[in-house]
Every structure is written in C-alpha cells, then in structure tokens.
Subunit: 123 residues, 2 copies
DNA sequence: ACACACCGCTTGACTTTTCAAAGCACTGGG
DNA sequence: CCCAGTGCTTTGAAAAGTCAAGCGGTGTGT
C-alpha cells in the first residue's frame, strides 16, 4: 500500500516537486535572471551546496532549468543556470504566492509578537 | 545570519511555509471541504499521523486552518479541520500550480521511462 | 455484553534529508 | 606567487520525516 497512487495526478506531482526544500526559492531566484552556482546559492539564501547541487540536478531532469557551461576560451568553465520555458511559467505560481504572502503574511506574529515596523517591503 | 533570516520578506516566509512537506497537499485537500483527521490523512494520500499532527498544529498557529472540535452531543469529539479565510485564499496558489501542472507536467518520465501505464489517472 | 472496526492522536525506534565545514581543481587580479 | 573567487564533491552528524504499534473512546453488529 505504500507506493500507491503516485500514479498520476499532475497536480499531485507538481506539488511533490515544488515542495522540495529550496525549489521555490531557486525558481524565484532564477526568475530574476540566470545565475551561476555560487551566485544562485547566495540569492537563494542559506541553502548549502550539496543540497543545491542535488536540487539543480533534479530540476534539470524535469527540464525546468538548464545548465549551460560557458566555454569562455577553452578552459574556464562557468556554469550558468537558467529557466526553460516550462520553468518560466512557474512565474504564475510565484506570483500567486507573492500576492497571497503580501495580503496574509505581513504581520504574522503568532507567538512572537515583536516585529516592530516590518519595514514595508524589505525584499 | 545562520539560523535563518526570517528577516522579512513575506514571499520568502510564504515559501518557507508552503514548501514544508505535505502542506500544499493538506491545503488542497481542505479546499475541497473540511475534514476530520483520518479523513484528511487519506485525502492527502500517504502522510503519517505524526507528521500530519505536526503540520496541522503549525498551520493552525499561522491561522491558515482551524480545528473545531465537534460536540455532537455531549461527549463524542470529532475534530474537524477547515481553512480560515487566509487559508482559503491559497486557492489561487493551488490554481496556479494546477494550471502549470496541466500544461507542463502531463507526461514527464524523464529519467525513469518506466511507468508501466500508470493505472489511468487515479486522481 | 462483547468483540470489532472506526475515531483522533501519541510514542519510540528507524530511515531519509539537510546541514556546515572542509577540500579539490581551476582562474583572474594584484 | 598568493589570495580571492569560481563550481562543485566529500564527510559525519543533526534534524526532519516515517513506520508500526498502541491508547482511550465511540458506534455497530451479534
């Protein structure tokens, strides 16, 4: 009964992908333009390289992102990650989250009632 | 810096919540109507009780869902979980995912070209 | 009355995922 | 040459999630 209906509901699958840790962050970062590995790591904010590599590989096999190895002149290899068309369309998802976040998550303070002056879009 | 810069980008926070395992599934299930504990567990499809309890608690403190203990007649206590207004508005997010999933995730099978006719959309 | 299948949930052991830190091979600037 | 920066890989340990079982309670059938 364990491996049950991994069967095939696209939404179910989508959620499965998007809820992997950092995935949404990665996509969001990449929506602002393609980035190199470390650059991306910094943009994402707090993901360690091992996990990042793994996520990136996964997203690549799903063709949400592409890894292009920039061959400047023979040797130097700077890897640049960017979104594929499919990945780009996640913009709508990010937008939805963004919209929701702004209306419902601006002053949560559930147990920590101490956010003085959440500085109006610190983003 | 290490702990987490919960520093305050609502989007960042939102992503932080939504990428927790099962959260999106839970929300999606609840969008179809309120549910009891085990009922929800089944709807979500594969989450175990321990994790579910934990997620539900978390979502409750964020006021995305409410737990109402149904006092049928004096004793029996059936707990019913339902979305708050804030939670309900996640509909847009789910919709976005749904739309995206349908256009880009219908037949991936990238590295595992081995889906032996997944039993005709068990969704 | 009693067994039995449900309900909501907790507990404890076990597995998987994520992590921080370090290291490797390389380059470009001073 | 040396140091900072690039793109990763490797460790081992901690955190998160999972499984299986069980607890008290109810409601139904026999």
């Amino acid at each position: 009964m364990s491996t049950e209906h991994t069967g095939f509901c696209p939404v179910y699958r989508a959620i499965g992908v998007l809820q992997e840790k950092w995935v949404l962050h990665i996509v969001r970062a990449l929506l602002n333009g393609e980035k190199g590995f470390n650059e991306l790591a910094r943009a994402v904010g707090g993901c360690n390289s091992a996990t990042l590599t793994q996520r990136l590989e996964h997203l690549e096999t799903l063709t949400l992102i592409t890894k292009r190895t920039e061959d400047s002149h023979g040797k130097l290899a700077r890897s640049v990650y960017s979104l594929t068309p499919a990945g780009l369309e996640l913009q709508s998802v990010i937008d939805a989250i963004d919209g929701w976040a702004k209306s419902h998550l601006s002053a949560p303070a559930p147990t920590t009632p101490d956010l003085p002056t959440a500085p109006t879009s610190p983003c």
